[in-house]
């Protein structure tokens, strides 16, 4: 899978995806994440973001009985780590778009 990395540009109507991508992000089947970005600073931030553990919340219980949650720290080698990290790219003022949609 491949994603294009775009900057988030502030506009009068909120943040919008930039016109041109800054680089690409690919993930192999074995879970290896590869960052391809000409900008060294952006590339460094991306590599650091995808290599640091994340604190994610887990939904527990059910709607029939009780709904609650817990916090869990996941490592980069976890299955859902990449999706969680992608959903938090806006912390870096970046946005990821699947290559098929860009």
């Amino acid at each position: 899978m491949r994603w294009d990395i775009y900057p988030l540009v502030k506009t009068k109507d909120g943040r919008r995806r930039g016109e041109f991508p800054l680089g690409t992000l690919s993930r192999s089947n074995d879970g290896e994440i590869k960052v391809d970005c000409p900008d060294a600073q952006t590339a460094t931030k991306l590599r650091l973001h995808f290599s640091s553990p994340l604190s994610v919340r887990r939904s527990l219980g059910s709607q029939a009985s009780v709904v609650f949650h817990s916090w869990e720290t996941i490592n980069p080698d976890a299955e859902d780590f990449f999706e969680e990290a992608l959903s938090r790219l806006h912390w870096l003022n970046l946005a990821a778009v699947p290559y098929s949609l860009s």
């Binding site: 219980g61 029939a64 009780v66």
Partner: protein
């Protein structure tokens, strides 16, 4: 017997014009007419200026290489100069006592007292059109510079007839002593000293200082005249007397001084001020939330249970007040309860203790069967991480209250459509995290929590701005829901 239909030769015509010019009133009228002609740019280039002695000078003006085909700024400036300064002086008659007396004042008064006319001199004429030939202008400048040479006028007048043969127009009649000849044009000012007042000033650098002086005089007066029209003159241009009137700068209309801070208008905020505002936002919000309206307080007292003396009691009340009185009343009507548990006892709550992984519960929980929201007091020891469980689970309770027996988000087309759009990765829709993707109930609760968040958490998963930027449809739907619920 005089034939009524007679042709006036140029000599008679000139004599009449000279006589007319001796009168200030007539001269002023002539000046106005000339200015009108200039404005309308209706000037017959073939029309000969009767003031000219040298006809060739008039024709030469049209073929002046400076203005011939010239569109440059230098040629335009020169044209403007000639129109503004030197054009006025063509009406000045050397040797005329009356004219000399009012000569300087007349020229200046026209430019300063009539701001409407001044732009005419400022704009100048289009290229290719000269109001007066250079030679005439030079001679007129000389006349102004030395008006005291009237004594030598008879001597210079004697020289005039010598130049007459050069002109096509005969000038046999001697000009009167006090009315100098209107023959100003000459191919070269140096060649023809006309009258005692007319000091020949050759073209060149020597004239420039005078010209610059006059320019400054004229130009300075024009702005001042305009300033008098505009009441709110800038403070920096005001005389020292106005310094004592700091706050009296009028703000009637038009331009106001950037230095005037009487209205306290802030042009921008510095970055440091913005940072300080963000830092003190939590403190101010906490201080402002201490005062709740009686209606909201009454509803909260009806739905909340627990230790009222606990410091977390007021914090929970202020968080729930963000939902609004109408939403709180709806929840109260559906028997929603908010239970504040002592610190560290969330896992021991019966419903949670019996659930799988109940010992891992953190912050709060919602029990749909009993319509109860349970909150642990230890949640308020520090700022919660990622999101605020009180807002999250009360949103779930509100969702449950709207849906009667089931959750309304499970049946709402808007929520289900947005949820599906996020699940398929449609542009403009995405989940904040994987927990929001569990069900529309979690999706709706997270969206409400993001909508009501006000810098409550550390590293928030989604802020209100994030919801607006990344899931606009859900933001609009929640905004609509609150408006409808708090009518």
């Amino acid at each position: 017997m005089l034939d009524p239909l007679f042709t006036m030769n140029s000599q008679n015509q000139r004599l009449i014009e000279n006589t007319q010019r001796s009168s200030d009133a007539v001269r002023t009228q002539a000046m106005k007419e000339t200015k009108e002609k200039r404005r309308s740019h209706v000037r017959d280039l073939t029309d000969l200026d009767p003031d000219l002695d040298d006809l060739s000078g008039d024709l030469l003006g049209d073929m002046d290489p400076d203005s011939f085909g010239g569109g440059g700024s230098a040629s335009r400036f020169r044209q403007m100069w000639e129109d503004d300064v030197e054009g006025e002086e063509t009406f000045q008659q050397p040797g005329d006592t009356i004219f000399d007396e009012g000569q300087g004042t007349c020229a200046i008064a026209v430019s300063s007292g009539s701001p409407d006319e001044s732009p005419e001199y400022m704009d100048g004429e289009p290229d290719g059109q000269e109001s007066y030939p250079e030679e005439d202008v030079h001679s007129e400048i000389a006349e102004e510079a030395e008006p005291t040479k009237e004594a030598s006028e008879p001597e210079q007048d004697a020289q005039v007839p010598e130049e007459e043969p050069e002109e096509n127009i005969a000038e046999a009649e001697p000009a009167p002593a006090d009315v100098p000849s209107a023959r100003d044009g000459s191919s070269g000012a140096e060649e023809k000293p006309k009258s005692s007042e007319r000091v020949i000033i050759p073209t060149g650098a020597e004239e420039k200082p005078e010209r610059t002086v006059r320019t400054e005089t004229v130009r300075v007066e024009v702005p001042s005249a305009r300033d008098t029209v505009q009441v709110n003159a800038p403070a920096e241009k005001a005389p020292p007397d106005d310094v004592d009137k700091p706050a009296a700068a009028p703000q009637i209309w038009g331009i106001s001084s950037l230095l005037d801070m009487s209205e306290g208008f802030i042009l921008h905020e510095s970055s440091s001020e913005v940072v300080e505002k963000k830092k003190t936002a939590r403190k101010k919000s906490a201080a402002s939330e201490k005062v709740l309206s009686a209606d909201i307080g009454e509803v909260l007292d009806a739905i909340m249970e627990g230790d009222k003396e606990s410091p977390a009691w007021d914090k929970v009340r202020h968080l729930l007040s963000r939902f609004g009185k109408g939403v709180l009343r709806t929840c109260a009507a559906n028997k929603i309860k908010v239970c504040l548990l002592p610190g560290g006892t969330l896992g021991s709550y019966p419903a949670i203790r019996n659930a799988e992984n109940g010992d891992k519960a953190a912050g709060g929980a919602y029990i749909p069967e009993t319509h109860t929201l349970v909150v642990d007091e230890s949640l308020f020891d520090d700022a919660p991480l990622g999101f605020h469980p009180v807002l999250y689970y009360f949103a779930m309770a509100w969702d449950h209250a709207l849906g009667d027996e089931d959750f309304a988000s499970m049946k709402s087309p808007a929520v289900k459509a947005s949820f599906e759009a996020c699940r398929t990765g449609m542009d403009g829709h995405r989940f904040p995290d994987l927990m929001s993707a569990v069900s529309p109930v979690h999706y709706f609760a997270q969206a409400v929590e993001a909508y009501l968040s006000e810098n409550d958490c550390d590293e928030p998963l989604w802020s209100r701005e994030d919801l607006y930027d990344f899931d606009r449809s859900m933001y609009s739907y929640i905004e609509y829901m609150f408006k409808q619920g708090n009518k």
